[in-house]
């Protein structure tokens, strides 16, 4: 089996990113050729695996699209979370769930939260910014995997709860979006 540590240590990020892009393109063309969308899809090329799952009733967009090195289970849940993840109840200590008048974006995995694409770079979003549904608002890094955090709803960022570089738990509240009216 391939260790999860290996790709990150043995290779520079560039070939890994290229491989990911390649797998992503293959997935898209594969899906385009299918008459019916599958429930789940797993594509593997060398050390890279892309897994996708679609939730019931969702017709077009992938609900979950996660990327993991070979043989690792996929990261948990969709990156954009407006509701508490399935099976869970909101907990005060992690702050997951709804804030009155706003929709919380929570951490998709335990890891390190980054507000910008690179150290010292401009943050993806700041308080007061308006965001579209699916827009990237941060990154959680877990074991050298960069997992995008996306807005689950269109609206205005009313609060950012986690600092750049802060350790976060699964389900921890990262920021709050006030949904756009209508």
């Amino acid at each position: 089996m391939t260790s999860l540590m290996e790709p990150a240590q043995a290779e520079s990020p560039a070939p890994l990113a290229e491989a990911l892009d390649e797998v992503r393109r293959s997935a898209q063309s594969l899906l385009a050729d299918l008459a019916h969308r599958p429930r789940a899809l797993r594509i593997r090329a060398g050390d890279v695996v892309v897994e996708m799952e679609w939730t019931e009733g969702q017709q077009h967009a992938p609900a979950t699209s996660t990327v993991a090195p070979l043989d690792g289970p996929p990261p948990a849940g969709p990156p954009s979370v407006g509701q508490t993840p399935a099976g869970g109840t909101p907990a005060a200590e992690t702050g997951a769930g709804e804030t009155p008048g706003g929709v919380d974006v929570t951490a998709p995995i335990v890891g390190t939260f980054y507000r910008a694409a690179e150290p010292g770079g401009a943050p993806f979003v700041a308080e007061g910014d308006t965001v579209k549904r699916g827009q990237q608002v941060g990154i959680v890094e877990a074991m050298k995997l960069m997992i995008p955090v996306e807005a689950g709803t269109e609206g205005r960022v009313v609060a950012v709860h986690a600092a750049d570089g802060a350790p976060v738990e699964f389900g921890q509240r990262l920021l709050t979006i006030a949904p756009a009216a209508g």
Partner: protein, 455 residues
């Protein structure tokens, strides 16, 4: 010794490991899924990290999340408990690479002994007796048929990657072999992602006897006697005891020495178990190695007076074994019953749900390992083990009487929740069990009569 130990597990075993860590003055870091937010170990721990949602593959089995939790909590050691990532070589490897001590054998040893084919080869090389069969995986149904014709039916076809009683198929009739062979390959592929299988002779009425071994990282190894785990329902143990009743002392000693020899030869470190089958002629055969602390470890702790988790941590920290074989003499008899949230009247289907009442056995020489609390929930996301009740007594009749008394004290209530308590009491009263002459076929016969009574 370590500063912070991350307990990479849940339920009773997470709490059990955490307790020893606390006794040793080590900081306890727990992990939990959203299903286990209010669990006993989360409350007990010095720090706890949510690692994912309920499904284990997204939380307790998800290596990057566990590694991140270890990093965030500053853990310098990870105890994997049993199940989940405990026998995943990549996890041991990832810990090592991150400079965190994995409390268990080295990754390469887990890899070799976790694969039943290479484990059989390694143990055969160390001189342990194997059941007649193949060491190498078999390529197709014809090859299985050939081996089976050689060694005689019934045979058992087992997944090379199997373990914990899963991924095996008994073949009694040559005509069924092609179909059963296809089925087990499919099952093995879906359970373990590895469809390789091997064949060995099946003993329908053998005893399951395992040896607890401790090895340090300095080439020393000792055994802590036997556990008889012959009371199994569909290869899941439900009653375990130490020592194995009626096992001749000379045979017990031979098995103990063989187990230590096998694990030392494999480069083992930590607590490990070598499982054997013992036939009615008192011949023993190597079955598999478990590279972890086992569910039933309390019966060994009770008869030997040794905290196995403490020894695991000491060995992992590089300390030499504090025990020699001569120091280790068992006292009395210990028996453990696994209380599962399941309904024997409905073919033992799991019965998760809210516990409105939970009253646990206590009193003289009774040990209860559980993470369940009144008002808490038995989650449908995980295995239905509710509690382990273990008792100690100077002899077996007293131990069985004590267990009956303890089980009678147990009350579990909740909407839709049932337990196997009464079934355990039935097994405890079976004349063969009382006489200590039972084998692995006991529960099968009991459940047959159980379902007849129901219909």
């Amino acid at each position: 010794m370590f500063h912070t130990v991350l307990v990479a597990n849940r339920g009773e075993i997470a709490l059990r490991v955490a307790r020893t860590c606390r006794e040793m003055g080590l900081r306890v870091a727990a992990v939990y899924s959203t299903e286990d937010r209010d669990s006993a170990v989360v409350r007990f721990a010095d720090v706890a990290v949510c690692v994912g949602p309920g499904p284990a593959r997204h939380s307790y089995l998800y290596l990057p999340a566990i590694m991140e939790a270890a990093r965030h909590t500053g853990a310098d050691a990870v105890h994997p408990g049993y199940g989940f990532l405990s026998e995943v070589a990549d996890f041991a490897d990832a810990c090592e690479s991150a400079g965190i001590t994995f409390v268990g054998p080295p990754a390469a040893v887990i890899e070799r002994l976790g694969d039943k084919s290479t484990a059989r080869a390694a143990m055969a090389e160390a001189g342990l007796p194997l059941l007649p069969g193949t060491i190498e995986p078999v390529a197709d149904a014809e090859a299985v048929a050939k081996v089976a014709a050689d060694i005689g039916y019934p045979v058992i076809v087992k997944a090379v990657a199997g373990g914990g009683g899963r991924g095996m198929q008994v073949v009694t009739n040559p005509d069924d072999l092609p179909r059963q062979y296809r089925e087990i390959r499919c099952t093995a592929q879906s359970l373990f992602g590895d469809d390789r299988v091997y064949v060995e002779r099946y003993l329908p009425s053998a005893r399951h006897v395992e040896v607890q071994v401790l090895c340090d990282r300095h080439g020393n190894g000792v055994h802590l006697g036997q556990r008889d785990c012959s009371v199994q329902r569909r290869r899941q143990k439900i009653i375990e005891e130490s020592p194995a009743p009626g096992l001749p002392a000379e045979l017990a000693e031979q098995m103990g020495q063989a187990a230590v020899r096998g694990l030392l030869a494999a480069g083992y470190a930590g607590a490990g178990t070598v499982e054997f089958l013992v036939d009615d002629q008192h011949r023993f055969y190597f079955m598999e190695v478990n590279c972890r602390i086992q569910v039933e470890h309390p019966v060994t702790e009770l008869t030997y007076g040794v905290d196995l988790v403490r020894e695991q941590l000491r060995v992992a920290a590089g300390e030499p074994l504090g025990l020699t074989q001569d120091d280790l003499a068992p006292r009395g008899v210990a028996v453990e019953c696994r209380i599962n949230a399941e309904d024997p009247a409905r073919d033992f289907i799991p019965t998760p749900g809210q516990l409105t009442t939970l009253s646990l056995p206590a009193g003289p020489f009774v040990r209860v390992d559980t993470a369940a609390v009144a008002g808490g929930r038995i989650s449908a996301a995980y295995d239905p083990l509710l509690a382990k009740v273990a008792v100690w007594a100077p002899d077996r009749p007293q131990a069985l009487a004590r267990m009956r008394r303890a089980l009678a004290e147990l009350t579990v209530e909740g909407p839709g929740v049932a337990t196997n308590r009464d079934f355990l009491l039935t097994a405890l009263d079976h004349p063969q069990f009382v006489a200590g002459t039972h084998d692995t076929s006991l529960v099968g016969r009991l459940t047959d009569s159980y379902s007849r009574e129901e219909t």
